[in-house]
Amino acid sequence: MITGTGVVKTFKQRGKVLGAREVRALRGVDFTIPKGGAASFIGESGCGKTTLGRIIAGLESYDEGEILIDGQSMSALKPKQRQPHFRKIQMIHQDPYSALNPTRTIHQTLYAPLSLRARQTGRSRSWIDERAAEVLSLVGLDPGTVLARYPHQLSGGMRQRVVIARALTVDPEMLVADEAVSMIDVSLRLGILALLKDLRERLGVSVLFITHDVATARYIGDDGELYVIYRGQVVERGAVDTVIADPVHPYTQSLLSAIPVLHGLEQPGEQPVTPLESLNESQSDEGCLFARRCPFRGERCTTERPLLRLGEGIPQEHACFYPERRSVIARPMSEV
């Protein structure tokens, strides 16, 4: 289990000489991902999803807050000591091509972490080969044909599976999949999603899914939680299906309204929400971060920052002063 409380991350872009620009990527994010559970982060581009994912995977530092892995506080540890903990959390990159070293065969790619592991646990070389074949089979690849190949000889989907297999070599407790399917062909996407789901169910690996496509988030596991992030802040959080079906935050609603309707199959939602203006990074940080774009903003919104909370009889946590359920998503024709 991994939990984070009040995680803050600010990027300082080093100016040429004088002055530096600050980008507040995360503004105090709380999250909990139980063992074997699933969570999805969704949000617009630049909202901080990747940053949070990288922090969770130990690839990025954070400025404030606390991250606990299986109850162990990471801030309390020295960088070296953190490593074994973070190794339990493996990142699956968006671009499966750059995630694999083009100069190394799949065998070499898998061999390196396995031999490290073999050394640590005192296992033999043959174990390495067995295990390499095993993880490949786990992700649905035929070890015989794949092992000797170079990444460029594989399709996007296969590469992504290899990436997942590589992550599995260290027996992770959690996979962080950052836009893991967005660069994969439409017809193959579902295969990867199914694989992640399958790994969850079979190996008990928890999955953190980062995407801007809500629909795919749903496929990792409907028992998971959905975190809607807006400008570095979680604005809505709840069970996937609840949030999709009954979003209460206007931002969540506009995200869901933006999903194209499959006109032959679906009927558009009744109350679509369109934000008033597009995202502008430099706008003020006062009040609700979404206020300027929110068609429903009230007085409070511009002066006071709403915090994530439960209440008003709404099953999910939300950060909105005026939460209201709206039916925004398209419904299948058959249901109508």
Binding site: L190, P260, H263
Partner: protein, 329 residues
């Protein structure tokens, strides 16, 4: 616009390979046609060949692209071709993000465009551009004064659309107009495309790999696979009742917001690349559940059934009202 038997080949070390093969497609005036296909299926190549702009080492090997009031684009050369571009056919680039000269303001590029097409009333052109931009929810004056890097992705895309339309082109080709944009911006752009299309009575071709996008905006939908058009028809009909096994598989593979998760299925196998597209027979047979012996050797003909056209041996047999679509070598 009528595309007829269009074949485009790329020269590779393994010889000339077709990226687009014998495609025939009618774009009805005033309609939005959407073409979907996976990466490498030849969408961009097709789009470029509509302007006779296939880049070397590619070339149009056969076929014609007839445009009302212009004739066969494939036959056009030099100045004629240049004038046709922009004035008759507006093109919105796949990576519209980068379709602007980084060193010049949008306004200057607009003037360049006007001069290129002999527009005398440059003021009028600017006015028109501002209007268009305003129509798309932007502050025209500010945008014209900006450099590319001062605009966000969505704004650039809108500028791209403006530049495609400002010379009153009636035929607009949009190649992946929303890729690399986030959901909300995408929704906005799609809305704009729809609205502008309606207002100006355009004939629009939208090319994308995302069925959702097509479903949202297009009246007609054409599905490409391995350089071939495997199915086309009115969007709602095709989505509601796909006939080609690929179309079916594709629709089934789309994750949905509601309904049973387990109904969704990935297509087996993987899409072909230029080198692995079968030379003869059905291009989809490797991944097809309905594969028959004939699929290995005979290219399925595109068979029309009312507004719908499908190229599949399996479907051919099932549908009896068949009308031959013109075949070109």
């Amino acid at each position: 616009m009528r595309i007829d038997g269009l074949t485009v080949v790329y020269k590779t070390p393994a010889g000339e390979l077709p990226a687009v093969r014998e495609i025939s497609l009618d774009l009805r005036p005033g309609s939005i046609t959407g073409i979907v296909g996976e990466s490498g299926s030849g969408k961009s190549t097709l789009a470029l060949s509509l302007l006779n702009a296939v880049q070397p080492p590619g070339r149009i090997a056969a076929g014609s692209v007839e445009i009302d009031g212009l004739g066969d684009v494939v036959g056009l050369r030099g100045e004629q071709l240049r004038k046709a571009r922009g004035k008759h056919i507006g093109y919105v680039f796949q990576a519209a993000q980068n379709s602007l000269n980084p060193l010049k303001t949008v306004g200057k590029q607009l003037l360049d465009l006007g001069r290129s097409h002999g527009v005398d009333d440059l003021r009028g052109l600017v006015r028109e551009a501002k209007e268009l931009l305003g129509r798309m929810g932007l502050d025209g004056a500010r945008v014209l004064d900006s450099h590319q890097h001062e605009l966000s992705g969505g704004m650039r895309q809108r500028v791209g659309i403006m530049l495609a339309l400002v010379l009153n082109a009636h035929l607009v080709v949009l190649d992946e107009p929303t890729t690399a944009l986030d959901m909300i911006t995408q929704a906005n752009i799609l809305k704009i495309i729809r609205e502008v299309h309606d207002e100006r009575g355009l004939t629009t071709l939208v090319i994308t790999h995302d069925i959702g996008v097509v479903a949202e905006v297009a009246d007609r939908l054409a599905v490409m696979y391995g350089g071939r058009l495997v199915e086309q028809g009115p969007t709602r009909e095709v989505l509601g009742a796909p006939r080609h096994p690929y179309t079916k598989g594709l629709i089934r593979a789309i994750p949905r917001l509601v309904g049973d998760i387990d109904e969704a299925r990935a297509l087996p196998g993987r899409p072909p690349t230029l080198a692995t597209v079968p030379k003869e027979g059905c291009v989809f047979r490797e991944r097809c559940a309905l594969r028959m012996d004939v699929c290995d050797t005979v290219d399925p003909r595109a068979v029309a059934d009312g507004p719908r056209i499908v190229a599949c041996h399996a479907v051919e047999g099932a549908v009896d009202v068949t009308v031959d679509v013109k075949e070109h070598a």
